[in-house]
């Protein structure tokens, strides 16, 4: 098992997760969250769960992001204090 790739993926995973919480611009947060899902999908393949990887890439990185963006478009883009 290639542990350097795993480590890199996990660092990016934590970084994107933290960024999605900290960012006040909700559109940016949605995009970062999509990147988080992509990292997660790659980690699933590393963990030998290709079923989950396909679902995560399609639902997490694709459909959920679209739903978030439509919702942001219909409401407000900035998070209130």
């Amino acid at each position: 098992m290639n542990w350097t790739l795993d480590l890199l993926l996990m660092i990016f995973l934590v970084a994107t997760a933290a960024a999605a919480i900290v960012l006040r611009d909700l559109l940016a947060a949605a995009v970062v969250f999509s990147a988080y899902s992509l990292m997660m999908a790659m980690l699933w393949t590393q963990l030998r769960a290709p079923d989950l990887a396909i679902t995560e890439a399609a639902v997490g990185a694709g459909i959920t992001t679209v739903l978030f963006i439509i919702t942001i478009y219909k409401t407000v883009r900035k998070e209130g204090k």
Partner: protein, 251 residues
């Protein structure tokens, strides 16, 4: 003060989770999850009993068929909830309405999507039909199909997408996942055995295996097509509502 409380609560949850992970039995020991309870039986006899080379498919559709029929219903209920709140797209509302695709998409994006979409859809069909012998299946393939149509809608606009996939062709397909599952489930009941039994009475030997894998494939296709169409309908309904509001504003 509030920040401190939030940080404290998060740290507490994190500690509880880490403690839980620490308590998990180590891999490759007698207590590991793959060597306790029902899992050894799934691994040893799964292929023969559940009728699928991919053990995950066998567990999802056979050993835990009740669970999966519930999950299929959950996806369908999600669509019902969206329609109940946002109102189903009605005829004539958007035909003459504001064109969301008035925002110009770049030629590069359009070309890339035009070339990659057929490959994406082909992959989705492969994942659905190959769910029995290899990783994947209805849920996964359906999600990929849904994502591909939604990508097309984002790039080429809702009017073009609706023309290719009118509500008349979508609405009957939305319930195909639930109905397919129930039809296969009640096939056994109709022939006098239990609900969701793939081994029908009066069929033996090699034919029984064929019938079983045929039934599994029908369920997979139903879950895939139904799930994909439901995703598409949810997104279409959400975008459509937007256009309706825009029309109201300009009127």
């Amino acid at each position: 003060m509030r920040r401190l409380l939030i940080t404290g609560a998060l740290a507490l949850v994190g500690l509880v989770l880490l403690y839980g992970v620490g308590k998990m039995p180590p891999m490759n020991t007698r207590l590991a999850p793959d060597k306790t309870h029902v899992v050894p039986r799934y691994l040893e006899k799964g292929e023969e009993e559940a009728g699928a080379k991919n053990i995950i498919t066998g567990i999802i559709l056979n050993y835990r068929g009740y669970d999966t029929s519930g999950e299929v219903t959950v996806i369908f209920s999600a669509l019902c909830a969206v329609i109940a709140i946002l109102d189903r797209e009605k005829k004539g509302r958007s035909r003459s309405g504001v064109d969301a695709s008035a925002i110009q998409t770049s030629v590069i994006v359009k070309t890339v999507v035009r070339f990659s979409l057929p490959v994406v859809v082909l992959f989705a069909v492969y994942v659905i039909l190959h769910g029995e012998p290899s990783p994947g299946g209805g849920f996964q393939g359906g999600a990929v199909i849904g994502a591909s149509v939604i990508l097309f809608t984002l790039v080429f606009g809702l009017p073009v997408s609706t023309r290719r996939m009118p509500p008349g062709s979508r609405i009957p397909l939305e319930s195909v996942n639930v109905l397919g599952f129930l039809a296969m489930g009640f096939l056994g009941v109709a022939l006098g055995v239990e609900f969701l039994t793939y081994l029908l009475p009066g069929i033996h030997g090699a034919l029984a295996d064929t019938v079983r894998s045929l039934m599994l494939t029908v369920i997979e296709i139903g879950i895939g097509v139904g799930g994909g169409v439901i995703f598409v309908s949810i997104v279409f309904t959400m975008i459509r509502e937007d256009q309706y509001e825009l029309q109201q504003d300009t009127a």
